[in-house]
């Protein structure tokens, strides 16, 4: 009754409330740190070197980028499974631009080639995003179907452009694969010589993408619109949000990021191949989910997603380090991991607003004994 008569609700006395997004993200970061510490203690060796983390990042920079795109799309309650295909297509086009087979006869400088490759990466990404976004947002076709078509289309295009795998080598790749060296994070090799930590350019791009998307999602009206639309599309409409435009923009961003990811992938591997980045869309979905993005929309965060990628990668390297070298062990642990996180999320979320986890556990155990 005091709630009713009292004009002033008790503000500021209680703990600051936190949102589902922040709660799930914190859980992911906590689990990642715990897992990494355990790996350091159990396996030592590589896990003790900072380079271990940098290697994970170097290897997975493109995955971080497409996962950011998927996080955006999933927050709006949609899905994009074309990103792996687009990444591979962009990588193929980029490699062929670099090694000259894209524009035979044209005399282009290395810088010009890199510039054209980057431009095409962004162009292809935006084109996929725009077409898919338009079909999904304005014609209201199921996102899964649209992006499934996009995935097949992109994969098919790769083979049309070149049946043979393509490679870019030489000076031009040396430029792109230049690494940033950080001596103070280095570690001694077997002979005791300090080797500086090495970071690829792609990682810096990936971190920039995380930062930009973070700002977009947190402080831009467009980003908040993604959350509103994912939370409840009908409500978002009633609240005055342009739902169609918002959904379109989410897919456009995802497409653009897939394009950038393709360029980063190419910088890392220097190879164009129809089977590049296979199933990376699935890894991106898994990373987003582990990072605390709900497939149902409305909840998620790119910082969480970043740690989602790291968690997924760490668990894989733990599996390998512990001697299970066959590739299926990685798949199985990824599956188990995903299951674990989804379960955890649903338990945590369903216990909110019902007197918290403790009350919930009490009710549970009470029922069991009584």
């Amino acid at each position: 009754m005091s709630m009713i008569s009292g004009k002033k609700p008790a503000v500021g006395k209680k703990r600051e409330p936190i949102t589902d997004t922040i709660l799930l993200m914190s859980i992911t970061i906590g689990i990642f740190l715990a897992m990494y510490v355990v790996a350091m203690l159990a396996f030592g060796g590589g896990f003790l070197k900072p380079q271990q983390i940098f290697d994970m990042l170097n290897e997975n920079a493109f995955l971080i980028i497409i996962s950011c795109g998927l996080t955006v799309v999933m927050i709006t309650g949609s899905i994009d499974i074309s990103v792996g295909g687009v990444t591979a297509l962009v990588a193929m086009v980029g490699v062929m631009t670099l090694n000259g087979s894209m524009f035979p006869g044209a005399e282009l400088s290395d810088g010009m080639r890199i510039f054209i490759a980057a431009l095409m990466a962004i162009g292809i990404g935006l084109a996929f995003g725009a077409v898919q976004g338009a079909l999904i947002a304005f014609l209201e076709i199921q996102p899964f179907i649209v992006t499934l078509a996009g995935m097949f289309f992109a994969r098919g295009m790769i083979t049309i452009i070149s049946v043979q795998p393509q490679k870019a080598t030489g000076d031009i790749m040396a430029v792109l694969q230049r690494r940033l060296e950080i001596p103070w994070l280095g570690s001694p090799n077997k002979k005791g010589v300090m080797i500086p930590a090495k970071i690829e350019i792609g990682v810096i791009i990936a971190l920039a993408v995380v930062a930009v998307i973070f700002v977009l999602l947190r402080w831009m009206k467009l980003g908040r619109g993604f959350y509103a639309v994912g939370g409840n599309q009908q409500s978002a409409l009633m609240l005055g949000i342009n739902v169609r435009r918002t959904r379109f923009m989410a897919h456009l961003i995802s497409g653009l990021l897939a394009g950038i990811a393709g360029f980063v992938f190419m910088m890392h591997t220097g190879a164009g191949n129809a089977t590049n980045a296979t199933a990376s869309e699935m890894n991106a979905i898994a990373s987003s989910i582990i990072g605390g993005t709900l497939l149902t929309g409305g909840v998620g965060n790119v910082i969480g997603t970043f740690f989602g990628v790291l968690t997924l990668t760490t668990i894989k390297s733990i599996v390998v380090t512990s001697g299970l070298r066959e590739p299926w062990w990685q798949s199985i642990t990824t599956g188990a991991m995903l299951c674990f996180f989804i379960l955890l999320q649903s338990v945590v979320l369903s216990s909110r607003g019902k007197g918290g986890l403790r009350a919930r556990m009490k009710a549970w155990t009470g029922k069991k004994t009584g």
Binding site: K8, P17, W219, L222, Y227, L239, G353
Partner: protein
């Protein structure tokens, strides 16, 4: 005067939803808009909020009563008319502050500090027990509703429409909402309050407008309109001189052997209630729309999740927690909405008839074609179902005949206890009488029947006992001499104050 609607007409193909309706709202008043199903309440609201465009009439707004043209929800909002619907139209995953401001800020960025500061001030001044950074979905429904109201208030609404705001709130939450409503009233906001809870109308409203069948019945100050008169107006009955036909309840006393008995039965949709029915008895639940009639019988049938209570059937305790359980106990239920819950439109009349029996037998014991045809023939004849053949799809039949097919479906399972929820809605008078006669015949054969209808006469004609509900509680039970329209209406209105 802050809003007047004059001579509003709106027709849909085949229906005159509103005919020459006037409505006025004063500054700082709470005005209840009342009416039964199909009275035109929601049409009027939708005309005002720009969801529908009116065919004729004018809407004047503001203290200087300027005419406005409202053609879209956006127009309504610009005119200072805000609506808070029964279902929350906010985003549960966002914070309270964000829900207050999203979609109506300028620029491309978001100023969280400003949002949260303003929200904090507003929540405090309106006495809403929520914090700006709280996630909306973690607030109670009442608080969510109040946040929606706060958003409307902050958008400088002059007219606030609350459409069934209390239907999912508990008593304490309703009180919270009412004090907010009174507060807004003091600030000069005109509130249109749509509800079907009579007591709530009398608790907060200043004036009442009653609609019936799309027409204005009248506008009254709340103190000049006793509850019973309000009920009579909504139902379209006169109070005096109706006792003439009060003879219905005199049918022979029902056998005293109890068939079904429930103590404290409750479901996710209904409050705990006691109920019993004797063998061969016809009784009925009555009350206004939303009083909990259907919810009660759905609880008996296990159609909503049963949450408590003891049930006995023929004196033996039984557990009925799903329609399948109820069917095993010989209970049959004809749902209120036959289009949604009853018919399978594309299947033939025959297939629709044998459906329930097939379910009871289990799908591994198929009913043979010959048997099915025999059953279908038998019931098409017995109930005089007008259909081209048993193979005709049920959707080709008229509403009354569709209803008979569903009745046949359940009769075929030889239930001991038949529950009919609005079996005569939307069907012609002839078929109505036939169904009433059939109910009486079945009861003579020993079947117990519970009957729900919006038409009191129909209930009086068929039932020997009426259970009266108001605001989701059973408020009276009428038998024998008490079975008159006046009595029913007084009981619905609460003792006739």
């Amino acid at each position: 005067m802050i809003l007047s609607m004059r001579g509003i007409c709106k027709a849909f193909p085949g229906v005159r939803a509103l005919q020459d309706v006037d409505f006025t709202l004063r500054k700082g008043e709470i005005h209840a808009l009342m009416g039964e199903n199909g009275a035109g309440k929601s049409t009027l609201i939708k005309v005002l909020t720009g969801v529908y465009t009116k065919d004729a009439g004018e809407i004047l707004i503001g203290e200087d009563q300027l005419p406005v043209s409202i053609r879209s929800p956006q127009d309504a909002q610009n005119a200072g008319i805000s609506t808070v619907y029964q279902e929350i139209t906010l985003c549960p995953n966002l914070t309270v502050a964000e829900n207050m401001f999203i979609g109506r800020e300028k620029g491309a960025g978001v100023n969280w500090k400003e949002r949260e500061r303003k929200t904090g001030e507003l929540l405090e001044s309106l006495g809403i027990p929520a914090r700006p950074r709280q996630q909306l979905g973690n607030c109670s429904l009442a608080v969510q509703q109040m946040v929606a109201i706060a958003r409307a208030v902050d958008m400088e609404c002059r007219v606030l429409i609350l459409d069934e705001p209390t239907s999912s709130l508990d008593e304490k939450e309703v009180e919270m909402l009412f004090s907010l409503m009174r507060d807004l009233k003091a600030r000069g906001v005109g509130i249109i309050f749509v509800t079907h809870f009579l007591e709530q109308v009398y608790a907060v409203s200043d004036r009442i407008t009653v609609l019936r069948n799309g027409e204005l019945v009248g506008e009254f100050p709340v103190e000049k309109l006793p509850q019973v008169e309000l009920v009579a107006m909504m139902m379209g009955k006169e109070l005096e001189g109706l006792n003439v036909m009060g003879k219905a309840g005199e049918r022979a006393a029902d056998s005293s052997e109890t068939l079904y008995e429930a103590h404290g039965l409750s479901s996710t949709a209904s409050r705990p209630f006691d109920f019993h029915i004797a063998k061969g008895e016809v009784n009925g639940f009555t009350g206004l729309l939303g009083s909990g009639r259907s919810e009660s019988v759905r609880a008996i049938f296990g159609a909503d999740r049963v949450t408590g209570g003891k049930v006995t059937m023929n004196g033996k305790p039984v557990k009925i927690s799903s329609p399948a359980d109820a069917m095993k106990q010989g209970i049959a239920y004809l749902p209120e909405d036959r289009k949604r819950d009853g018919i399978i439109a594309d299947l033939s009349v025959r297939e629709n008839i044998i459906l329930a029996l097939q379910v009871m037998k289990g799908f591994f014991h198929p009913i043979s074609r010959a048997e099915a045809e025999k059953f279908a023939d038998e019931y098409i004849k017995a109930l005089e179902i007008k259909t081209a053949s048993q193979d005709a799809p049920i959707k080709s039949l008229s509403g009354g005949n569709q209803q008979k097919v569903i009745l046949a479906r359940w009769l075929l399972t030889h239930p001991q206890y038949l529950i009919l929820d609005e079996p005569t809605r939307g069907i012609d008078v002839g078929t109505k009488t036939e169904i009433q006669r059939l109910v009486l015949k079945l009861s003579e054969e020993g079947m117990s029947v519970t009957f729900i209808s919006s038409e009191i006469e129909e209930m009086l004609r068929t039932c020997s006992r009426l259970i009266v509900m108001r605001d989701r509680n059973i408020v009276g039970e009428l038998t024998g001499d008490e079975l008159t329209q006046d009595h029913v209406m007084y009981t619905i209105a609460g003792g006739g104050d």
